[in-house]
């Protein structure tokens, strides 16, 4: 799919950017698919600038006709994540990502882990979908394949 909108958000302290109402503890990681208001209400965003951008992106989505694929995971502070593909399957959505080194002049420690969230706005409601996944490549070695990448540096 190419007609998708994407936003990335990064927490440099490694704290989760959002949590679901049934999360028992504050931990980084998770995949949530939103097809209606009920799904949106289950998500609480942290009060920080990057989480605020993520919340705004979700709130601007018309969940009557669109849906949101929301994913979070830990990523090394010196790496950035790129989205290389979004695939609509018969019963769900898959997304492919790869990891690339951030520019040499970006200050980061090789031991630090950030929390990274990505929200993908999809042009369909996906109400009947029940299968969601992500694949991760360790190296973005094929130039020009990314359909979206982290633009800014976060908060």
């Amino acid at each position: 799919m190419s007609d998708v909108e994407v936003t990335f958000a990064r927490d440099r302290k490694g704290r989760s950017l959002f949590e679901l109402d049934d999360d028992e503890e504050d931990r980084v990681g998770g995949l949530h698919f939103m097809t209606g208001e009920e799904d949106r209400d289950r998500v609480s965003f942290r009060s920080s600038d990057p989480a605020g951008e993520l919340r705004a992106f979700v709130n601007e989505t018309d969940l009557e006709s669109e849906s949101v694929y929301l994913l979070e995971r830990s990523v090394g502070a010196c790496y950035e994540v790129r989205l290389t593909g979004v695939y609509r399957e018969s019963d769900g959505v898959d997304a492919d990502f790869c990891r690339a080194l951030r520019p040499a002049d970006v200050a980061c420690s090789r031991d630090d882990e950030d929390a990274l969230a990505v929200a993908i706005r999809l042009p369909f409601d996906g109400e009947d979908f029940n299968s969601f996944g992500s694949r991760w490549g360790s190296d973005c070695d094929r130039p020009g394949t990314a359909i979206a990448r982290e633009g800014g540096d976060d908060g």
Binding site: C78, D105, A107, S109
Partner: protein
């Protein structure tokens, strides 16, 4: 007219009988017969490994031009210059980039120190003398390229690298290479020797051509992809080093010849004549070369025998020489096209010998380890005989596939773990080494006859 009028298929039904279930010698560790392998000989694994350990004689340094210490030292000096331009503990804001740069710097420094120690140590110096000159030269270029990659990555990471400067250096290399090519008419003394020297030079020139290409471009902001920048700078440095070696080797070669003659036309004509000759022979063997693995035109099943591996190896060698010749022709590397063409001729002749032997019922599993030892000894003798054909520089180049098969054969014996299957494959490699080596003198004579107009006229 049939495709192969010279071949009359033999129908020998008497195959080499295998002594079923030969007992392993007491006290020796025998290779186990795998489940299902209930027929065929059993082998003493210790004896086979001992045969393997006898190894393959090392290739003599047959290249006609001596590589001097000064030639390798020139690369080492340049490598040190490049290394010294990077701080001992490079540091950039990105911690992962910093770590990679530091690790790489340590590796380059260690490799250079080690190569320097080898040069200084009398014992190591002896060893270095045994290593063929072209390999020492290639190693020195490799260290130089490594150091350039490090410096390129460092300058990229610190935004000190100017992409326009890289583009200029590429253009300079293109121009230097054009000048090298335009002044080269494949001059030399003895035609077979000139052929080998110029084939080597073609390889270096090709390396320089690839390095000088404008692709991939340097990123506009080198700090975003410093290691990609490093690879680009490495390629450029490797191309410059290769071109400078090509010049020096050519000059050294010509310095030793009284009245060098141009061989460009003779080499080009020879490449085409060998191509025609090989294609003719290929057509005569097409039913074997075109056959799939399940469709071999033999009257007996080769399953579970060395013969099937022997045939596969012979076919692969022909296929590989076919490709090499085609690529060399397309690239305009006529000296390499001649070498590949001569290897095609030798490979096709060896394939004929393989087919004849298989049709005569040969190359079932060897009866015992003594038979394997004899196969190794025969291969060594055949390769020595092939390499004894003058000019040695050329016979050594043409005999390479035999040497390769011998090395593979002895390694398989050393590592044999899987019973009869491993022994069959090793035996096939050794047999192929002998058969291919036996085909070298004829291929060499054909190439020399085409190369030397006087010999051709006679």
């Amino acid at each position: 007219m049939t495709d192969r009028p010279r071949r009359v298929r033999s129908r020998r039904s008497v195959l080499a009988a295998c002594g079923a279930g030969m007992a392993a010698l007491a006290g020796c560790s025998a290779v186990g017969i795998r489940p299902g392998d209930d027929e065929g000989p059993e082998y003493d694994a210790g004896r086979l490994a001992a045969i393997g350990r006898e190894g393959a004689p090392s290739r003599p340094d047959a290249f006609p031009v001596t590589v001097t210490g000064e030639m390798t030292e020139r690369h080492s000096e340049r490598a040190r210059e490049l290394l010294d331009a990077v701080p001992e503990r490079p540091e950039v804001p990105n911690g992962v980039v910093t770590r990679r740069l530091r690790d790489h710097r340590e590796e380059v420094a260690e490799a250079l120190d080690e190569s320097g120690t080898e040069d200084d140590d009398p014992q190591a110096g002896t060893h270095a003398d045994e290593e063929p000159g072209l390999e020492r030269l290639s190693e020195a270029r490799h260290h130089r390229a490594d150091a350039a990659e490090l410096l390129g990555a460092y300058r990229g990471a610190t935004s000190e690298l100017d992409p326009d400067r890289v583009a200029e250096r590429r253009e300079t290399l293109r121009s230097d290479r054009r000048s090298f090519e335009s002044g080269r008419d494949y001059r030399g003394g003895e035609p077979g020797v000139a052929l080998v020297v110029h084939a080597e030079l073609e390889g270096y020139s090709d390396r320089a051509r690839r390095s000088a290409e404008a692709w991939p471009p340097v990123p506009d902001d080198p700090a975003t992809e410093p290691f990609k920048v490093g690879e680009i700078v490495r390629g450029l440095e490797a191309g410059r080093a290769a071109l400078s070696d090509a010049r020096r080797l050519r000059d050294r070669y010509l310095d030793g010849i009284d009245d060098p003659q141009p061989f460009r036309s003779a080499i080009t004509v020879t490449a085409h004549r060998l191509d025609r000759r090989a294609s003719f022979r290929w057509r005569g063997l097409h039913e074997y070369l075109d056959a799939g693995p399940d469709d071999l035109p033999f009257d007996r099943s080769l399953d579970g025998t060395p013969a099937i591996h022997l045939f596969a190896r012979a076919k692969r060698t022909v296929d590989s020489a076919d490709r090499a010749a085609e690529e060399a022709m397309q690239a305009g590397n006529q000296a390499n096209a001649v070498l590949a063409g001569a290897r095609r001729i030798a490979g096709l002749r060896a394939l004929e010998s393989v087919i004849d032997a298989i049709e005569e019922g040969k190359y079932d599993s060897p009866d015992d380890a003594d038979r394997v030892a004899a196969a190794r000894a025969d291969a060594v003798d055949a390769i020595e005989t092939a390499r004894g054909t003058s000019p040695v520089a050329l016979s050594d180049e043409l005999a390479f596939p035999a040497h390769d098969a011998l090395r593979l054969g002895v390694r398989r014996l050393e590592e044999a773990r899987n019973g009869r299957h491993d022994v069959n494959r090793a035996f096939a490699s050794l047999a192929y080494a002998r058969l291919y080596a036996g085909a070298v003198p004829e291929a060499l004579a054909t190439a020399i006859r085409y190369l030397d107009p006087n010999a051709d006229a006679a």
